[in-house]
């Protein structure tokens, strides 16, 4: 029995539910890649700046949180989109 026939035997709703779950995983996983790298860059460079100039740590920290917030938004869009997707 071929794979296609196996699939055809299934309840059609079941296949859709499974593909929806896979799609959700791909959406959130894909959306998390870029922001992960981005937040790493933001925080790493902020730590470098704080280590070089400890007296400006306050400004750097504020800017770092801003940068994190802007970068993180993309991952959160993916997170919300993953819930919006329905089969």
């Amino acid at each position: 029995m071929s794979v296609l026939q196996l699939i055809a035997q299934q309840d059609p709703g079941e296949l859709e539910a499974g593909l929806t779950a896979v799609g959700r995983g791909i959406v959130y996983g894909g959306a998390a890649i870029g922001p992960g790298i981005g937040i790493g860059l933001v925080v790493g460079n902020a730590i470098t700046a704080m280590a070089r100039q400890p007296e400006s740590a306050g400004t750097v920290r504020t800017t770092m949180f801003l940068g994190i917030a802007f970068t993180e938004a993309l991952a959160l869009f993916g997170f919300v989109l993953a819930f919006i997707i329905t089969g």
Binding site: G58, T59, T62, F65, L66, I68, A69, F70, E72, A73, L76, F77, F79, V80, F83
Partner: protein, 251 residues
């Protein structure tokens, strides 16, 4: 071996709450609590005005000072002090409606529903448009906001369109989604580990997995306290940045 076949509650089961009384559900009650807590901190704290602050007055004063020094002075500057009341209230309101996430017996962050974050973001949207219109005038505000300095003429239309969409849609939407999604994600993580701990609590071999899971749950709860504070701070500081971009155009 039913560890992996864990019965995880569906997302609607976790966020839709039944009505308790007077058309209010748990989320509404949490918002009323947050409003009352914010009001009472500043009303009680401001009623005595002691030279050496104690108790609630201490909390109110350190909150105001935190918003003034860490948020306004870092982003808008001295002429942004007019926005100190609205930013402080916003900070405390968001913090109180977030911190119920780890409050035993409540354990739901009210901002994990999209309504109030959206309203707050639209309020911020209205504030920075009105401030921009008053401080710079409508045409100057639109020109300063959409035409960044030093952009080559060839790509100027594209940049202007993007910047215009930014102040029109992207800012309020991303601000609301950021608060909402962070709190929802935190709540889901805590629920996941709570359900896992409950499922592992049995006289089977897999009970050895319970201690690390429970320790992780405790650490994540502590982490969510940090996230509750941080999201209130980030929402406030982004509001300040948006107001700052309306008061001082980039030359």
């Amino acid at each position: 071996m039913n560890v992996l076949a864990l019965e995880f509650p569906s997302i609607s089961h976790l966020t839709n709450w039944p009505e308790i009384a007077f058309g209010l559900n748990k989320v509404g009650l949490i918002y009323i609590f947050a409003t009352v807590a914010t009001l009472s901190i500043f009303l009680i704290g401001g009623s005595k005005k002691q030279m050496v602050p104690r108790g609630i007055q201490n909390i109110a004063e350190s909150g105001v000072e935190f918003v003034r020094e860490q948020v306004i002075m870092q982003t808008i500057g001295p002429d942004g002090l007019a926005f100190l009341p609205v930013l402080t209230t916003m900070f405390f309101f968001i913090f109180f409606s977030n911190i119920t996430e780890v409050l035993p017996g409540v354990q739901f962050p009210a901002n994990a529903r999209f309504g109030i974050p959206l309203v707050l973001a639209l309020m911020v949207w209205a504030i920075y448009w009105i401030v921009g219109f008053i401080k710079q005038g409508p045409l100057h505000y639109l020109k300063n906001a959409t035409v960044p300095p030093g952009v080559p003429k060839a790509i100027l239309p594209l940049v202007a369109l993007i910047e215009f969409l930014q102040i029109l849609i992207v800012r309020p939407f991303s601000q609301a989604v950021r608060l909402f999604a962070n709190m929802l994600a935190g709540h889901l993580i805590l629920v996941t580990f709570g359900v896992l701990c409950a499922a592992l609590f049995a006289l089977q071999w897999y009970v050895v997995l319970l201690p690390p899971t429970f320790v992780l749950l405790v650490f994540l709860t502590a982490f969510e306290v940090l996230v509750s504070f941080l999201q209130a701070f980030i929402f406030t500081i982004l509001t300040a940045v948006y107001i700052g971009s309306s008061t001082h155009p980039e030359h």
